[in-house]
Symmetry: D2
Subunit: 142 residues, 4 copies
Protein backbone atom coordinates (compact mmCIF):
# COMPACT_ATOMS: atom_id res chain seq x y z
CA UNK A 1 0.00 0.00 0.00
CA UNK A 2 1.65 3.17 -1.17
CA UNK A 3 0.86 6.85 -0.95
CA UNK A 4 1.66 9.38 -3.66
CA UNK A 5 2.58 12.94 -2.69
CA UNK A 6 3.53 15.74 -5.04
CA UNK A 7 6.23 18.35 -5.18
CA UNK A 8 6.96 21.05 -7.73
CA UNK A 9 10.61 21.42 -8.75
CA UNK A 10 11.95 24.87 -7.84
CA UNK A 11 14.47 26.86 -9.86
CA UNK A 12 16.61 26.72 -6.73
CA UNK A 13 16.62 22.90 -7.04
CA UNK A 14 18.23 22.92 -10.48
CA UNK A 15 21.95 23.16 -11.12
CA UNK A 16 23.99 24.33 -14.09
CA UNK A 17 23.52 20.98 -15.85
CA UNK A 18 19.91 22.18 -16.22
CA UNK A 19 18.50 19.39 -14.05
CA UNK A 20 17.61 18.83 -10.39
CA UNK A 21 20.81 18.49 -8.38
CA UNK A 22 21.26 15.15 -6.63
CA UNK A 23 21.21 16.64 -3.12
CA UNK A 24 17.53 17.58 -3.30
CA UNK A 25 16.06 14.11 -3.61
CA UNK A 26 16.50 13.39 0.09
CA UNK A 27 14.17 16.35 0.66
CA UNK A 28 11.66 14.81 -1.72
CA UNK A 29 11.95 11.52 0.18
CA UNK A 30 11.13 13.40 3.40
CA UNK A 31 7.99 14.80 1.76
CA UNK A 32 7.02 11.29 0.72
CA UNK A 33 7.24 9.67 4.15
CA UNK A 34 5.69 12.70 5.91
CA UNK A 35 2.61 12.46 3.72
CA UNK A 36 2.57 8.67 4.08
CA UNK A 37 2.35 8.98 7.87
CA UNK A 38 -0.22 11.80 7.67
CA UNK A 39 -2.33 9.67 5.35
CA UNK A 40 -2.18 6.77 7.81
CA UNK A 41 -3.54 9.09 10.49
CA UNK A 42 -0.58 10.20 12.58
CA UNK A 43 1.72 12.92 11.29
CA UNK A 44 5.36 12.60 12.31
CA UNK A 45 4.91 15.79 14.34
CA UNK A 46 2.50 13.95 16.62
CA UNK A 47 4.91 11.04 17.03
CA UNK A 48 7.65 13.44 17.99
CA UNK A 49 5.35 15.12 20.51
CA UNK A 50 4.90 11.69 22.09
CA UNK A 51 8.66 11.44 22.56
CA UNK A 52 9.49 9.30 19.54
CA UNK A 53 12.15 10.12 16.96
CA UNK A 54 12.85 8.32 13.71
CA UNK A 55 16.24 9.58 12.51
CA UNK A 56 17.54 8.38 9.16
CA UNK A 57 20.28 5.81 9.72
CA UNK A 58 20.83 4.78 6.12
CA UNK A 59 19.75 6.01 2.70
CA UNK A 60 20.08 4.86 -0.86
CA UNK A 61 19.30 6.73 -4.07
CA UNK A 62 19.35 5.62 -7.68
CA UNK A 63 19.06 8.48 -10.16
CA UNK A 64 17.57 7.17 -13.41
CA UNK A 65 16.44 10.20 -15.40
CA UNK A 66 16.85 13.88 -14.64
CA UNK A 67 13.97 15.86 -13.17
CA UNK A 68 13.70 19.34 -14.58
CA UNK A 69 12.60 22.80 -13.53
CA UNK A 70 8.88 23.13 -12.85
CA UNK A 71 8.22 19.41 -13.16
CA UNK A 72 5.41 18.30 -10.91
CA UNK A 73 6.83 15.15 -9.36
CA UNK A 74 4.90 12.22 -7.93
CA UNK A 75 6.60 10.76 -4.88
CA UNK A 76 5.35 7.25 -4.29
CA UNK A 77 6.13 5.98 -0.80
CA UNK A 78 5.60 2.68 0.95
CA UNK A 79 6.96 0.75 3.90
CA UNK A 80 9.39 -1.85 2.60
CA UNK A 81 10.54 -3.41 5.85
CA UNK A 82 9.34 -3.15 9.44
CA UNK A 83 11.29 -4.44 12.43
CA UNK A 84 10.85 -4.06 16.16
CA UNK A 85 12.81 -0.81 16.31
CA UNK A 86 13.45 0.20 12.72
CA UNK A 87 11.52 0.85 9.55
CA UNK A 88 12.50 1.18 5.93
CA UNK A 89 10.59 3.41 3.53
CA UNK A 90 10.88 2.93 -0.21
CA UNK A 91 10.36 5.73 -2.72
CA UNK A 92 9.82 6.10 -6.44
CA UNK A 93 9.76 9.57 -7.95
CA UNK A 94 7.99 9.99 -11.26
CA UNK A 95 7.32 12.92 -13.54
CA UNK A 96 3.66 13.67 -12.89
CA UNK A 97 0.77 14.69 -15.09
CA UNK A 98 1.20 18.13 -16.63
CA UNK A 99 4.97 17.87 -16.80
CA UNK A 100 5.40 17.24 -20.50
CA UNK A 101 5.59 14.08 -22.59
CA UNK A 102 7.44 11.52 -20.45
CA UNK A 103 4.87 11.21 -17.68
CA UNK A 104 5.22 8.22 -15.40
CA UNK A 105 8.86 7.29 -15.92
CA UNK A 106 10.77 6.68 -12.69
CA UNK A 107 13.33 9.48 -12.30
CA UNK A 108 14.75 8.45 -8.98
CA UNK A 109 14.12 5.59 -6.61
CA UNK A 110 15.56 4.73 -3.26
CA UNK A 111 14.96 3.99 0.36
CA UNK A 112 15.65 5.34 3.82
CA UNK A 113 16.03 3.28 6.98
CA UNK A 114 15.03 4.82 10.30
CA UNK A 115 15.71 3.80 13.87
CA UNK A 116 13.16 4.39 16.61
CA UNK A 117 14.61 6.45 19.48
CA UNK A 118 13.08 7.73 22.69
CA UNK A 119 13.57 11.22 24.13
CA UNK A 120 16.95 10.19 25.55
CA UNK A 121 18.15 9.04 22.12
CA UNK A 122 18.01 5.40 23.20
CA UNK A 123 16.89 2.72 20.79
CA UNK A 124 13.28 1.84 21.54
CA UNK A 125 10.83 -0.74 20.23
CA UNK A 126 7.97 0.79 18.28
CA UNK A 127 4.83 1.09 20.42
CA UNK A 128 1.99 -1.10 19.13
CA UNK A 129 0.01 1.76 17.63
CA UNK A 130 3.09 2.79 15.61
CA UNK A 131 3.60 -0.76 14.39
CA UNK A 132 -0.01 -0.74 13.24
CA UNK A 133 0.55 2.62 11.59
CA UNK A 134 3.65 1.48 9.72
CA UNK A 135 2.61 -2.07 8.91
CA UNK A 136 1.99 -2.50 5.20
CA UNK A 137 -1.45 -3.94 4.65
CA UNK A 138 -1.32 -7.72 4.51
CA UNK A 139 2.31 -7.89 5.61
CA UNK A 140 3.17 -9.01 9.11
CA UNK A 141 5.98 -7.20 10.90
CA UNK A 142 8.99 -9.35 11.62
Amino acid sequence: MSLTAQVRVLYADTDQMGVVNNVHYLRYFEIGRAEYLRDRGTPYKKLEEMGLKFPVVEAHLRYREPARYDDLLDIETEVEDLRAASVQFKYAIRRGAGSGPAVGAVLCEGWTKHACLNEHNQLKRFPDFVLALLRPTGVASR
Copy 2:
Protein backbone atom coordinates in the same frame (compact mmCIF):
# COMPACT_ATOMS: atom_id res chain seq x y z
CA MET B 1 36.96 46.34 11.70
CA SER B 2 35.94 43.55 9.41
CA LEU B 3 36.73 39.88 9.11
CA THR B 4 37.00 38.01 5.82
CA ALA B 5 35.94 34.37 5.63
CA GLN B 6 35.96 32.16 2.57
CA VAL B 7 33.58 29.73 0.97
CA ARG B 8 33.89 27.65 -2.18
CA VAL B 9 30.81 27.64 -4.44
CA LEU B 10 29.38 24.13 -4.80
CA TYR B 11 27.79 22.70 -7.92
CA ALA B 12 24.68 22.27 -5.77
CA ASP B 13 24.63 26.06 -5.26
CA THR B 14 24.31 26.83 -8.97
CA ASP B 15 21.04 26.87 -10.88
CA GLN B 16 20.19 26.42 -14.54
CA MET B 17 21.11 30.05 -15.29
CA GLY B 18 24.67 28.83 -14.63
CA VAL B 19 25.16 31.05 -11.58
CA VAL B 20 24.70 30.79 -7.82
CA ASN B 21 21.01 30.81 -7.00
CA ASN B 22 19.85 33.72 -4.85
CA VAL B 23 18.75 31.53 -1.95
CA HIS B 24 22.30 30.51 -1.04
CA TYR B 25 23.67 33.92 -0.08
CA LEU B 26 21.95 33.85 3.31
CA ARG B 27 24.05 30.75 4.00
CA TYR B 28 27.17 32.66 3.02
CA PHE B 29 26.12 35.48 5.35
CA GLU B 30 25.86 32.95 8.19
CA ILE B 31 29.41 31.80 7.48
CA GLY B 32 30.55 35.42 7.58
CA ARG B 33 29.09 36.28 10.99
CA ALA B 34 30.07 32.90 12.51
CA GLU B 35 33.70 33.47 11.60
CA TYR B 36 33.47 37.11 12.74
CA LEU B 37 32.40 36.00 16.23
CA ARG B 38 34.97 33.20 16.33
CA ASP B 39 37.68 35.68 15.37
CA ARG B 40 36.59 38.00 18.18
CA GLY B 41 37.03 35.14 20.62
CA THR B 42 33.57 33.72 21.29
CA PRO B 43 31.96 31.42 18.73
CA TYR B 44 28.17 31.65 18.48
CA LYS B 45 28.02 28.10 19.82
CA LYS B 46 29.44 29.34 23.14
CA LEU B 47 26.92 32.18 23.30
CA GLU B 48 24.10 29.72 22.72
CA GLU B 49 25.47 27.45 25.46
CA MET B 50 25.21 30.47 27.79
CA GLY B 51 21.51 30.73 26.98
CA LEU B 52 21.68 33.51 24.38
CA LYS B 53 20.10 33.34 20.93
CA PHE B 54 20.50 35.83 18.09
CA PRO B 55 17.77 34.97 15.57
CA VAL B 56 17.66 36.89 12.29
CA VAL B 57 14.78 39.39 12.40
CA GLU B 58 15.47 41.18 9.14
CA ALA B 59 17.71 40.65 6.13
CA HIS B 60 18.58 42.53 2.99
CA LEU B 61 20.49 41.34 -0.06
CA ARG B 62 21.64 43.20 -3.16
CA TYR B 63 22.86 40.92 -5.93
CA ARG B 64 25.35 42.82 -8.13
CA GLU B 65 27.19 40.23 -10.19
CA PRO B 66 26.70 36.49 -10.41
CA ALA B 67 28.96 34.15 -8.49
CA ARG B 68 29.84 31.00 -10.41
CA TYR B 69 30.63 27.36 -9.80
CA ASP B 70 33.90 26.76 -7.97
CA ASP B 71 34.49 30.46 -7.24
CA LEU B 72 36.31 30.95 -3.98
CA LEU B 73 34.33 33.76 -2.39
CA ASP B 74 35.54 36.25 0.19
CA ILE B 75 32.83 37.09 2.70
CA GLU B 76 33.69 40.37 4.42
CA THR B 77 31.70 40.90 7.61
CA GLU B 78 31.46 43.75 10.07
CA VAL B 79 29.08 45.06 12.72
CA GLU B 80 27.17 47.96 11.25
CA ASP B 81 24.91 48.84 14.15
CA LEU B 82 24.82 47.79 17.78
CA ARG B 83 21.91 48.50 20.13
CA ALA B 84 21.06 47.32 23.62
CA ALA B 85 19.29 44.19 22.40
CA SER B 86 19.96 43.98 18.67
CA VAL B 87 22.88 43.94 16.30
CA GLN B 88 23.22 44.42 12.58
CA PHE B 89 25.91 42.66 10.58
CA LYS B 90 26.92 43.94 7.15
CA TYR B 91 28.38 41.71 4.45
CA ALA B 92 30.18 42.11 1.15
CA ILE B 93 30.89 39.03 -0.94
CA ARG B 94 33.70 39.25 -3.46
CA ARG B 95 35.23 36.83 -5.91
CA GLY B 96 38.48 35.85 -4.22
CA ALA B 97 41.97 35.18 -5.46
CA GLY B 98 42.22 32.16 -7.75
CA SER B 99 38.72 32.60 -9.13
CA GLY B 100 39.57 34.01 -12.55
CA PRO B 101 39.99 37.54 -13.85
CA ALA B 102 37.43 39.68 -11.98
CA VAL B 103 38.86 39.29 -8.49
CA GLY B 104 37.65 41.75 -5.90
CA ALA B 105 34.38 42.91 -7.45
CA VAL B 106 31.45 42.89 -5.02
CA LEU B 107 29.03 40.17 -6.14
CA CYS B 108 26.50 40.52 -3.36
CA GLU B 109 26.18 42.81 -0.38
CA GLY B 110 23.64 42.99 2.37
CA TRP B 111 22.94 42.92 6.05
CA THR B 112 21.15 40.90 8.69
CA LYS B 113 19.63 42.28 11.89
CA HIS B 114 19.48 40.04 14.95
CA ALA B 115 17.58 40.31 18.22
CA CYS B 116 19.06 39.05 21.48
CA LEU B 117 16.79 36.50 23.16
CA ASN B 118 17.18 34.51 26.36
CA GLU B 119 16.34 30.82 26.78
CA HIS B 120 12.65 31.66 27.13
CA ASN B 121 12.65 33.54 23.82
CA GLN B 122 12.28 36.86 25.62
CA LEU B 123 14.06 39.95 24.36
CA LYS B 124 17.15 40.52 26.47
CA ARG B 125 19.81 43.24 26.66
CA PHE B 126 23.21 42.03 25.54
CA PRO B 127 25.44 41.18 28.52
CA ASP B 128 28.45 43.49 28.75
CA PHE B 129 30.92 40.93 27.47
CA VAL B 130 28.79 40.46 24.35
CA LEU B 131 28.59 44.20 23.79
CA ALA B 132 32.37 44.31 23.98
CA LEU B 133 32.55 41.38 21.58
CA LEU B 134 30.24 43.00 19.05
CA ARG B 135 31.33 46.62 19.39
CA PRO B 136 33.15 47.79 16.30
CA THR B 137 36.50 49.23 17.29
CA GLY B 138 36.24 52.95 17.91
CA VAL B 139 32.43 53.00 17.71
CA ALA B 140 30.37 53.40 20.86
CA SER B 141 27.20 51.35 21.20
CA ARG B 142 24.02 53.39 21.31
Copy 3:
Protein backbone atom coordinates in the same frame (compact mmCIF):
# COMPACT_ATOMS: atom_id res chain seq x y z
CA MET C 1 -4.52 41.30 -6.83
CA SER C 2 -2.65 38.64 -4.96
CA LEU C 3 -2.28 34.88 -5.26
CA THR C 4 -1.90 32.52 -2.32
CA ALA C 5 0.24 29.40 -2.68
CA GLN C 6 0.96 26.83 -0.02
CA VAL C 7 4.03 25.04 1.24
CA ARG C 8 4.46 22.49 4.02
CA VAL C 9 7.44 23.08 6.34
CA LEU C 10 9.89 20.17 6.16
CA TYR C 11 11.92 18.82 9.06
CA ALA C 12 14.96 19.69 6.94
CA ASP C 13 13.83 23.35 7.04
CA THR C 14 13.99 23.60 10.82
CA ASP C 15 17.13 24.34 12.81
CA GLN C 16 18.16 23.59 16.38
CA MET C 17 16.20 26.60 17.66
CA GLY C 18 13.17 24.48 16.74
CA VAL C 19 11.97 26.89 14.05
CA VAL C 20 12.38 27.36 10.31
CA ASN C 21 15.87 28.65 9.60
CA ASN C 22 16.03 32.08 7.96
CA VAL C 23 17.67 30.81 4.76
CA HIS C 24 14.58 28.91 3.62
CA TYR C 25 12.21 31.85 3.19
CA LEU C 26 13.79 32.84 -0.13
CA ARG C 27 12.72 29.40 -1.35
CA TYR C 28 9.20 30.08 -0.15
CA PHE C 29 9.27 33.42 -1.98
CA GLU C 30 10.22 31.56 -5.17
CA ILE C 31 7.21 29.29 -4.74
CA GLY C 32 5.01 32.36 -4.30
CA ARG C 33 6.05 34.14 -7.49
CA ALA C 34 6.12 30.92 -9.54
CA GLU C 35 2.50 30.21 -8.66
CA TYR C 36 1.59 33.87 -9.21
CA LEU C 37 2.87 33.70 -12.79
CA ARG C 38 1.27 30.30 -13.40
CA ASP C 39 -2.04 31.65 -12.13
CA ARG C 40 -1.77 34.61 -14.52
CA GLY C 41 -1.40 32.17 -17.38
CA THR C 42 2.32 32.00 -18.18
CA PRO C 43 4.62 29.93 -15.99
CA TYR C 44 8.15 31.26 -15.61
CA LYS C 45 9.35 28.18 -17.47
CA LYS C 46 7.55 29.43 -20.59
CA LEU C 47 9.07 32.90 -20.24
CA GLU C 48 12.50 31.36 -20.00
CA GLU C 49 11.83 29.25 -23.10
CA MET C 50 11.09 32.54 -24.91
CA GLY C 51 14.56 33.77 -23.98
CA LEU C 52 13.62 35.92 -20.98
CA LYS C 53 15.25 35.70 -17.55
CA PHE C 54 14.19 37.47 -14.37
CA PRO C 55 17.11 37.10 -11.95
CA VAL C 56 16.71 38.43 -8.42
CA VAL C 57 18.67 41.66 -8.07
CA GLU C 58 17.55 42.62 -4.57
CA ALA C 59 15.66 40.96 -1.74
CA HIS C 60 14.32 41.97 1.64
CA LEU C 61 12.95 39.79 4.42
CA ARG C 62 11.37 40.69 7.73
CA TYR C 63 10.98 37.72 10.09
CA ARG C 64 8.10 38.40 12.49
CA GLU C 65 7.18 35.08 14.08
CA PRO C 66 8.80 31.70 13.71
CA ALA C 67 7.31 29.10 11.38
CA ARG C 68 7.49 25.59 12.78
CA TYR C 69 7.82 22.03 11.57
CA ASP C 70 4.86 20.74 9.60
CA ASP C 71 3.16 24.15 9.45
CA LEU C 72 1.17 24.57 6.27
CA LEU C 73 2.18 28.06 5.17
CA ASP C 74 0.18 30.43 2.99
CA ILE C 75 2.45 32.45 0.71
CA GLU C 76 0.59 35.54 -0.49
CA THR C 77 2.24 37.15 -3.52
CA GLU C 78 1.52 40.28 -5.48
CA VAL C 79 3.32 42.66 -7.83
CA GLU C 80 4.30 45.74 -5.87
CA ASP C 81 6.10 47.72 -8.54
CA LEU C 82 6.41 47.33 -12.29
CA ARG C 83 8.91 49.25 -14.41
CA ALA C 84 9.99 48.96 -18.03
CA ALA C 85 12.67 46.37 -17.28
CA SER C 86 12.18 45.38 -13.65
CA VAL C 87 9.48 44.07 -11.39
CA GLN C 88 9.11 43.83 -7.65
CA PHE C 89 7.14 41.03 -6.01
CA LYS C 90 5.87 41.39 -2.46
CA TYR C 91 5.23 38.42 -0.17
CA ALA C 92 3.47 37.73 3.10
CA ILE C 93 3.80 34.29 4.66
CA ARG C 94 1.12 33.25 7.12
CA ARG C 95 0.47 30.11 9.13
CA GLY C 96 -2.36 28.47 7.22
CA ALA C 97 -5.46 26.58 8.24
CA GLY C 98 -4.70 23.30 10.00
CA SER C 99 -1.48 24.57 11.55
CA GLY C 100 -2.66 25.09 15.12
CA PRO C 101 -4.11 28.07 16.96
CA ALA C 102 -2.36 31.13 15.52
CA VAL C 103 -3.68 30.90 11.98
CA GLY C 104 -3.35 34.00 9.84
CA ALA C 105 -0.54 35.84 11.62
CA VAL C 106 2.18 37.09 9.29
CA LEU C 107 5.34 35.10 10.01
CA CYS C 108 7.57 36.65 7.38
CA GLU C 109 7.11 39.38 4.82
CA GLY C 110 9.40 40.75 2.20
CA TRP C 111 10.01 41.48 -1.44
CA THR C 112 12.24 40.55 -4.33
CA LYS C 113 13.20 42.80 -7.21
CA HIS C 114 13.95 41.23 -10.58
CA ALA C 115 15.59 42.58 -13.72
CA CYS C 116 14.49 41.46 -17.18
CA LEU C 117 17.38 40.03 -19.19
CA ASN C 118 17.55 38.56 -22.66
CA GLU C 119 19.45 35.40 -23.65
CA HIS C 120 22.70 37.38 -23.76
CA ASN C 121 22.21 38.62 -20.20
CA GLN C 122 21.51 42.14 -21.43
CA LEU C 123 18.89 44.29 -19.76
CA LYS C 124 15.73 44.21 -21.82
CA ARG C 125 12.37 45.98 -21.64
CA PHE C 126 9.52 43.63 -20.82
CA PRO C 127 7.60 42.62 -23.95
CA ASP C 128 4.01 43.91 -23.89
CA PHE C 129 2.46 40.54 -23.08
CA VAL C 130 4.72 40.26 -20.04
CA LEU C 131 3.77 43.76 -18.89
CA ALA C 132 0.14 42.72 -19.15
CA LEU C 133 0.93 39.55 -17.23
CA LEU C 134 2.69 41.37 -14.42
CA ARG C 135 0.55 44.48 -14.23
CA PRO C 136 -1.49 44.57 -11.04
CA THR C 137 -5.15 45.05 -11.87
CA GLY C 138 -6.04 48.73 -11.94
CA VAL C 139 -2.45 49.89 -11.61
CA ALA C 140 -0.67 51.41 -14.59
CA SER C 141 2.97 50.52 -15.12
CA ARG C 142 5.32 53.43 -14.80
Copy 4:
Protein backbone atom coordinates in the same frame (compact mmCIF):
# COMPACT_ATOMS: atom_id res chain seq x y z
CA MET D 1 45.11 7.25 -1.63
CA SER D 2 42.60 9.54 -0.04
CA LEU D 3 42.21 13.28 0.35
CA THR D 4 40.75 14.96 3.41
CA ALA D 5 38.76 18.19 2.99
CA GLN D 6 37.07 20.15 5.72
CA VAL D 7 33.68 21.75 6.20
CA ARG D 8 32.25 23.67 9.13
CA VAL D 9 28.67 22.74 10.10
CA LEU D 10 26.32 25.71 9.72
CA TYR D 11 23.37 26.50 11.96
CA ALA D 12 21.29 26.20 8.79
CA ASP D 13 22.45 22.57 8.50
CA THR D 14 21.00 21.55 11.86
CA ASP D 15 17.40 20.53 12.44
CA GLN D 16 15.18 20.53 15.50
CA MET D 17 16.70 17.26 16.73
CA GLY D 18 19.78 19.42 17.36
CA VAL D 19 21.92 17.57 14.82
CA VAL D 20 22.83 17.91 11.15
CA ASN D 21 19.86 16.93 9.03
CA ASN D 22 20.39 13.92 6.76
CA VAL D 23 19.90 15.90 3.53
CA HIS D 24 23.13 17.89 3.94
CA TYR D 25 25.59 15.01 3.75
CA LEU D 26 25.30 14.79 -0.03
CA ARG D 27 26.60 18.38 -0.07
CA TYR D 28 29.51 17.32 2.10
CA PHE D 29 30.20 14.44 -0.31
CA GLU D 30 30.33 16.97 -3.16
CA ILE D 31 32.92 18.99 -1.26
CA GLY D 32 34.95 15.82 -0.75
CA ARG D 33 35.14 14.78 -4.39
CA ALA D 34 35.66 18.37 -5.62
CA GLU D 35 38.72 18.74 -3.42
CA TYR D 36 39.90 15.25 -4.36
CA LEU D 37 39.92 16.21 -8.06
CA ARG D 38 41.50 19.59 -7.35
CA ASP D 39 44.23 17.89 -5.34
CA ARG D 40 44.91 15.51 -8.23
CA GLY D 41 45.44 18.53 -10.46
CA THR D 42 42.23 18.99 -12.46
CA PRO D 43 39.24 20.63 -10.80
CA TYR D 44 35.83 19.38 -11.95
CA LYS D 45 35.23 22.82 -13.43
CA LYS D 46 38.04 22.20 -15.92
CA LEU D 47 36.64 18.79 -16.85
CA GLU D 48 33.26 20.38 -17.48
CA GLU D 49 34.87 23.07 -19.65
CA MET D 50 36.31 20.21 -21.74
CA GLY D 51 32.79 18.92 -22.32
CA LEU D 52 32.73 16.17 -19.71
CA LYS D 53 30.01 15.71 -17.09
CA PHE D 54 29.99 13.27 -14.18
CA PRO D 55 26.41 13.25 -12.89
CA VAL D 56 25.61 11.20 -9.81
CA VAL D 57 23.77 8.02 -10.83
CA GLU D 58 23.65 6.32 -7.45
CA ALA D 59 24.39 7.28 -3.86
CA HIS D 60 24.51 5.54 -0.53
CA LEU D 61 24.77 7.02 2.95
CA ARG D 62 25.15 5.38 6.34
CA TYR D 63 24.60 7.77 9.24
CA ARG D 64 26.50 6.49 12.30
CA GLU D 65 26.71 9.36 14.76
CA PRO D 66 25.17 12.82 14.58
CA ALA D 67 27.27 15.78 13.50
CA ARG D 68 26.50 18.93 15.46
CA TYR D 69 26.46 22.67 14.99
CA ASP D 70 29.89 24.23 14.46
CA ASP D 71 31.67 20.88 14.19
CA LEU D 72 34.62 21.06 11.87
CA LEU D 73 34.20 17.92 9.80
CA ASP D 74 36.89 15.98 7.99
CA ILE D 75 35.64 14.56 4.71
CA GLU D 76 37.90 11.74 3.59
CA THR D 77 37.46 10.86 -0.07
CA GLU D 78 38.92 8.19 -2.30
CA VAL D 79 38.13 6.43 -5.55
CA GLU D 80 36.65 3.06 -4.75
CA ASP D 81 35.95 1.76 -8.23
CA LEU D 82 36.93 2.93 -11.69
CA ARG D 83 35.40 1.58 -14.89
CA ALA D 84 35.61 2.68 -18.51
CA ALA D 85 32.74 5.15 -18.20
CA SER D 86 31.90 5.33 -14.49
CA VAL D 87 33.63 6.03 -11.23
CA GLN D 88 32.68 5.46 -7.63
CA PHE D 89 33.87 7.77 -4.86
CA LYS D 90 33.85 6.63 -1.25
CA TYR D 91 33.56 9.03 1.69
CA ALA D 92 34.06 8.95 5.44
CA ILE D 93 33.07 11.99 7.47
CA ARG D 94 34.72 12.40 10.85
CA ARG D 95 34.52 15.01 13.56
CA GLY D 96 37.77 16.92 13.14
CA ALA D 97 40.26 18.43 15.54
CA GLY D 98 38.82 21.28 17.58
CA SER D 99 35.31 19.85 17.62
CA GLY D 100 35.19 18.54 21.19
CA PRO D 101 36.03 15.19 22.74
CA ALA D 102 35.01 12.55 20.18
CA VAL D 103 37.48 13.48 17.45
CA GLY D 104 37.99 10.93 14.71
CA ALA D 105 34.82 8.86 15.00
CA VAL D 106 33.11 8.22 11.67
CA LEU D 107 29.81 10.13 11.67
CA CYS D 108 28.69 9.25 8.17
CA GLU D 109 30.10 7.12 5.41
CA GLY D 110 28.91 6.42 1.94
CA TRP D 111 29.63 6.49 -1.75
CA THR D 112 28.47 8.08 -4.96
CA LYS D 113 28.66 6.53 -8.42
CA HIS D 114 29.05 8.80 -11.43
CA ALA D 115 28.64 8.21 -15.13
CA CYS D 116 30.81 9.99 -17.68
CA LEU D 117 28.72 11.92 -20.23
CA ASN D 118 29.70 14.08 -23.15
CA GLU D 119 28.13 17.44 -24.05
CA HIS D 120 25.19 15.67 -25.67
CA ASN D 121 24.50 13.67 -22.51
CA GLN D 122 25.71 10.48 -24.15
CA LEU D 123 27.66 7.92 -22.16
CA LYS D 124 31.33 8.32 -22.96
CA ARG D 125 34.50 6.44 -22.00
CA PHE D 126 36.80 8.45 -19.79
CA PRO D 127 39.64 10.01 -21.78
CA ASP D 128 43.05 8.62 -20.77
CA PHE D 129 44.09 11.68 -18.79
CA VAL D 130 40.92 11.39 -16.72
CA LEU D 131 41.55 7.70 -16.08
CA ALA D 132 45.00 8.64 -14.84
CA LEU D 133 43.49 11.36 -12.70
CA LEU D 134 40.95 9.05 -11.12
CA ARG D 135 43.02 5.89 -10.84
CA PRO D 136 43.83 5.09 -7.26
CA THR D 137 47.56 4.65 -6.86
CA GLY D 138 48.55 1.04 -7.39
CA VAL D 139 45.12 -0.03 -8.60
CA ALA D 140 44.56 -0.78 -12.27
CA SER D 141 41.31 0.38 -13.86
CA ARG D 142 39.12 -2.42 -15.09
